[in-house]
Each structure stands twice: as structure tokens, then as C-alpha cells.
Amino acid sequence: MEQDLIVTNGRIIDPASGKDEMGSLRVHDGHIAEVVWGGDALSGEGARVIDAQGGWITPGFIDLRTHLREPGEEWKETVESGAHAALAGGYTSICASPDTIPVNDEASVTNLIRQRGEAANAARVYPVAAATTGQRGENLADLGDMKAAGAVAVSNGERPISSARMMRRVMEYSRTFDLPLMTSSFDLSLSEGGLMNEGLLSTIMGLAPIPSEAETIAVARDIELAALTGARVHLSRLSTAGSVRLLRAAQKRGLNITGDATPHHLTLTEEANKTYDTNTKVFPPLRTEQDRQALIEGLRDGTLSCVATDHLPQNIADKELEFVYAQAGILGLETAFPLMMNLVREGVLSAQQVISALSTGPANVLGHGLGGSLEPGAVADITISQPDAPWTPTQETLRSMSFNTPFLGTELRGRVTWAIVGGSVRYALHGSIQ
């Protein structure tokens, strides 16, 4: 049997139990064996010991929306590179969006992603099943088969489902297999050709606008369909104040619907588009300060229970283009934690709220005890971090194969030092464990 692992000298933040104080914990056989609160260190005899050096000890982060580009676009990201980038960002589990080539719409692709994930020996990689064949929104995909192959959720990825009738069937069929459905609620007829948020700035810049209503109209529809079908619905990457308002009202009605926002929508606004920097081109587009504040308020009051990165690697050749021709997408895995820490340092979110949104919230969306807790008995997926440590994302420091982030070359504060998956130390920023 593997040696026990002890993590000491850190601030343990565990949203599942609501605790937040200094302490140590012991990992035995891949699970949390005991947690000792206060200054008394656990006995290190016969165990390997990680000194958290006063940093944070939290449940491993879980990303509900990661675009790994394998199969199909392996020059942008592979399952392996994405799973390693995840660990460097504190993510011990990532949900692989089905937008691959071919689409993850049948069990053979699901198997491939799962197996590559296991072989990477980094973050856990959970395949997400495409809701419809080829993401075309016309026919149901083999959800039962894909679940058996390891899919943990359903999503139509980047492609919203236009037909309300099809969306209803997707919800019903997902419910059949007890799979959560993560939507991309967007009305493409309103957003088609759009490049940035609609407003004075899009008018000045002469870029085709995407109105907020392209999102809110679809969110409203999907909430009504969730009420009709009783499906477990999670609204992904919400970007507008209107969407948060609709979700809050839906939860008040007692509907079991959750939602997330991305770190970039929580920290940037359309102002970032001003220089036509294609690294700020993203879908949904960066919105207004008012929208950003509403997303933060959504996290504060629990309307949004998760932060999801929407990590979307793009090759530089797809970004060094005119704004209209550049591909949309921003990396997220390695910058999510420092960006969220900015909100903690600004005093708008608590440490507990941020850690919950990064770990416990997403675990609850997935269900089935897939992490998100440090209570004894829980699976030992643990992230250790120095929440204020400065570092700068560059082509050299990023572990992702791509570097399409507007934060490239900008000093960020907040760095993951260790990532532990199922009790095994998979990532150590400064060398290996003693």
C-alpha cells in the first residue's frame, strides 16, 4: 500500500463543510483520512509530507468546460497537454467539451478521450457527450452508450440547439440517463456574424454586434424547457445581467437549474476589445461593466454556483489575423485562479466563495461524489496554492500548447504550487516531493 500523504501548514478552505482555518490533513489510500484544525500538525511518521508554506489547501478545482482539441486539432491542444495545463492551474478534473473533430457523439470518441486522459496521468479528464449527432441539433446522439464509456455530462458544446423541440428531447433523453445537460444557450439568428458586444463601442469600432438578447432569449427558453422536462440543466458561460436575472427567478420558482460564468467575463469588459486585440475575441463576447457586476453578484448570492473556464486554445495563426477573421477563444485553465483571486483582493468575493465556485459548485453539478470536498472519506483531489504569489503567463510559462490569452505578458497574482489527484502528487511547481 502507498505511503500516507500529509499536507500541513496551510489554510484549509473547504466549502463542503464551510470550514476555513489553518490545519493539516492526512490522505490514506486515495481518500481524505483525517483533517486536524488548528496548529497541531499531524504526525509525519511513515508518511510523505507536503508543507503548504502558509498557502491554501482546497479541494481540487473542477472545470466544467474545457476545450481539448484532440481528436482533430492536436496542434492547438492535446488531451495530454490540456490535462497538464489543468494541473498547473489547480484543476484536478476537467470536463472535455465535445467540440472535437470528429465530434464526441459516439462511444468510440468518448473512449479515446477517456483513455488519452488516463494515459496523461495528470488531471482527471471527463468526456462530455455531444447532445446531438455532429452537434447539428437534428438527431439525438448515443447518450446511453457514451455514458457507459465514461461521459459524465451532456452538452452541445459551442453549437447551441436552435430547435426548441430538439432541446426538449435532449433534456428528456439526458434525464433518462441521469446526466446533467450543460447548455450553450444562445440564439444564433441574433448573433450570426457578430464579433463583439452590441453597444456604443461596437458602433464606434464598426464591428458587427451581438446583442445581450441573443443569450437571454435562449436562456429564457431553456429555463422553460427545464421546467417542462424536469431535466438537470446547467447554463454554461453566462455573460449578461439578464441571464443572471432569469436564472435567479428560475431558482426562486424551485427549478433545479445551475449556472456558471468564465473568469474572463468576470474580470474583463468590452473595453478590452478597443484595440482590436484578437486575443480578446471570444464567444459570448466580453460585455459591459454592468454585466460583469451582475455576474459577480450572481456568484455572491449563489445564483451562479460555478466558474468554468471555457478554455479554448487557438493557434497563433488563427489569432494573428484581422479581428473579423480571427478565431474566437481565450485560454482559461492556468489563469482562472489568479483572475478569481483578483476579485478576492478587490473584496468583492470571499475566499470561500471563489473556492466553492472552482470546486464544490462544479462537483455538485456533476454529482456522484466527483470531488469538491475535503471531508474525511472524500476522494483526495487537492489543490495547494499561494494565493498572492506573482507570476507572468508567457509562451514559456504556460503549459498549454497555445497562448491565446489577453493576459499574456501581464503579471498575475495567485499560483498553484501542488496538485494532488486521488492521493497522488501529480503537479509540484517547485520540483518533487521529499
Binding site: 464591428l207 494573428e320 479581428f323 477573421y325
Partner: protein, 321 residues
Amino acid sequence: MEQDATLEHLLGLRHLTPGQIRNILDHAKRFKAINERKIKKVPTLRGTTVVNFFVEPSTRTRTSFEIAAKRLSADTLSFSASSSSFVKGETLLDTARNIEAMQPEILVLRHKASGAPHMLSRAIDAAIVNAGDGYHEHPTQALLDMFTMEEHKGPISNRDVPLKVAIVGDIAHSRVARSNIHGLTKLGADLHLAGPATMLPTAVESLGVTVHYSVEDALKDADVVMMLRIQKERMGTDLFPNDREYARMFGLDKKRLQLAKPDALVMHPGPINRGIEIQPDIADGPQSVILEQVTNGVAVRMAVLYLVSHRGRPAAPVEVQ
């Protein structure tokens, strides 16, 4: 008004000061005098290379820039999308870097993507002059429009009653309108926009203009009426039903023009769709200055090329003996 003789690039009018605009217009006046001589050429930009890089077709603007550069004795090279390696799949940035390697001082860019000149200004050393980018800006067009207005109506700034300018048409998809909005409001004109709501971009009223759906309201007592070209390819889309309806509701005819001041100027950035946004008798009528706009375009572009050739350092006024 405090003149500002610096101009690093000309990406748009949005970020220019009123003093920079004034300075360009005053320089254009001097260059126009050169254009009226028998020998229309000065040695001002001898040894300077100007590349006209037109990724989107445009005969009028490209010719105007070419003549402007030649009259300043610059060495010019023009090439367009169809003749360039663009058709071979080279990116804009790569093509621009190749041009850059030949060390031109000034690169004039026309491109259908908004922001393309901004991208180039970050990537290469040459001074960039925007000759129209997407729906963003067409600064030299607005400058020549303002120049033409001032020739007939006197200075736009510091008037007892502001100059009333009406711009009619597809504002949403017009870079000419955007540059005119920025330039004219900076100089203090009273700007009125009109068109169907489908063609008026979001929040445009925040730019210090008055928005009308009725052309009649916009034209009332106007000093200048500027009609925008209707892109025929937009017909039958969701912007307007057909050209007949557009001409009846938003086109400029004799009756509508009578609502403006009797000496109002009629302008159009060209090329015109006769009988759609403007009736032929108005386009060719006594109030039309459409061809003067074209003439003035050369002088304005000479001024711009001259000023950016100083790369942000103040340019001395050109002596015209």
C-alpha cells in the same frame, strides 16, 4: 483653435484632436493651390516611398492617393488584392511585413475588416494611413467632406449658429458616416442622422448627434445634405425591402431638398446609385458638390501624406510660392 501639426498615423478621426483636424484642413488648402497650377508637382516627398495597399477594391480612393503621392514627388506603388499574394493565401500581416522589408515610409491601407490598419500600425514601422476599414472609419473621406464644406460655408468651428449637417442612409454600415460624425462633432457642427431604424447603429446618439427616422426632419434648414450610398447587395435582406421603397422614403429629391436651406450643399461620397438614394437632377444640379469632393480629395490626401511623413514630429507648414 490651437493647431496641432503632429500626426503619427491616420487610423481614424476618433482619436484626433480638433487642432490636428484643423491642421490637416489648413495644409490641404495650401496643397490645393498647387493642384490649381499648370505644373501640379512639388518636391516635398522626394525620396519617400508610399505603398498603396488596397485589399478591398476601390478605384476612386486608390487613384486619389496615387495622384496625391505623385504630386508630392513620392515614389508610389499600388497593388490590390487581386494582384497580390493574398489570392495565394498569405495573411495580411505577412504581406505587410514583406512590404515593410522594402522600407516604405508610408503605407496606405484599404481593407474590408474593421481594425486592420490598427493591427498593421502595431506590427510594422511605416506610417499607416487608413483608406477605409470595414464599417469603422474612412478618415480622408471625412476630411475632404469637411474641406469642401468649409470652402463653401467658411470655417465649421466658432460660428454663431452651428453648421447644420444632415447625413442620410445606411449609417450602421458606413465608415464614411462614422468618420464624419467624429470629425464634424469635434469641430462643433450640428449633426443630424436619418435613415430607417434598421440602418441606425446602437447608441449612435451618444456620439453627440441627433437621430431621425424621418428624412424631412433631418433636412429641415440644413446647410449640408450628405447622402450615403445604398449597397444594392443589402437589398431584400433584413435592412430594407427594395430600392423603390427606399427611394420613396429616404431618397433625396427636389421636394425634400427644398426643406434644407436654399444654398444647402448636396454631397455624396460616391459612387452614386442614381434614382435610389439621390435623384439624377439633384446629383447633377447646382447645389451638388459631388465632383468638387473628388477634386478636394487629392489636396486632403497630399496634406495627410505630408504630415504623416514626419512620423509624429510637428510638420512645418508647406511654403507655396
